[in-house]
Symmetry: C2
Subunit: 205 residues, 2 copies
């Protein structure tokens, strides 16, 4: 985590992966202590520092507007490279892939990100693809925010088998039924896309 | 929130509702300060106490195994009744509806809950129904964990109109694509249901 991360990017996958038999999930930040989300309305406790990710089986980098301020941060890039070197799975949700790319982990690698950040991801050396979940070797990347839940269920199946993942899906009653059909760039009408672009431009200004 | 709540029950709807123009979301607990989730792996800061919910336009009660210890807690039941009296919308996710029922808010009212808690919800005076989101007057209840996202999008449309909700759905890229089709009691094969029931029995023991 980092200042101005997006909560659901982290909490969706946590809710899935913490239910794997024997799993321990740790939330890490710049330092142990409180980390605030992009909305400034939610504070989550980091139990350790970014460097503590080294040795973890799975690392997961959430997104959020706070990623932009970290793209040239040598400390987080070094911590991500060290963790990636030893990880079994290196993963991201939403604009978390920008940080993996900034750390040099996605050079020439197909990766997902939030639909509004695909150009930026490409400019950082990754090959941005318009898919919800992208698996390339041990690297799993997810599209915007809620896509982390789908990614985590796939990862759960890779780690513990399909039946373990299916049981987790039932335990969180993940039988999605959104009231609208506007959840992707391809499906949303252009006036809705414009509305989101304006809101995001205002937030990043 | 309360000790042993389920994080995604709260954070899914927060991620939707905090994006409503002008919205302020506050996380409340037994007292201001840290609240730990059911897995004991995540700590969230409460910004105020349960009683501070009185006067909120929307109240949302998450679920989790911690609900069981609060069903006869007069303090939380009183705080919920006071908040419900003045709210525009009273809502719950997963077993959060058990607390609304314990507070007397769901007497004879159709309501959703986690599929494994329907009998318990019925024993508390509500009419448990096997739907993902149930709207009855100003009361909105959602089924297990991830159903809170669907409920919050519906609520966003009720509060700010369909286009505002559709824009939020696109901003969180909620175009779900679960890897399996086992997210409900009706869809999961019986050996998966049994596996979840065993795991939940072990957790509540």
């Amino acid at each position: 985590m980092f200042d101005r991360f997006t909560a659901l990017d982290a909490v969706g996958p946590y809710e899935v992966l913490s239910r794997l038999p024997g799993a321990t999930v740790r939330f890490l930040g710049p330092a142990p202590g409180p980390v605030r989300t992009d909305t400034r309305m939610l504070t989550v406790e980091a139990q350790g520092a970014w460097e503590d990710a080294s040795g973890a089986d799975v690392i997961l980098v959430p997104g959020g507007f706070g990623t932009r301020a970290l793209l040239e941060d040598q400390r987080i890039c070094r911590a991500l490279r060290a963790a990636h070197e030893r990880s079994r799975w290196t993963t991201s949700v939403c604009t978390g892939s920008l940080l993996l790319a900034a750390a040099g982990i996605l050079d020439g690698v197909d990766a997902a990100t939030h639909w509004a950040a695909r150009d930026l991801l490409g400019s950082l050396g990754a090959r941005a693809v318009a898919e919800r979940v992208v698996e390339r070797g041990k690297i799993l990347t997810a599209a915007g925010v809620s896509a982390g839940i789908d990614m985590a269920l796939l990862l759960a199946s890779r780690i513990a088998g399909d039946e373990a993942a299916q049981a987790i899906q039932l335990s969180i009653e993940y039988d999605p039924d959104p009231p609208f059909n506007t959840g992707s760039l391809a499906k949303a009408p252009s006036h809705i896309v414009d509305r989101v672009r304006r809101a995001e431009a205002a937030q990043s200004a």
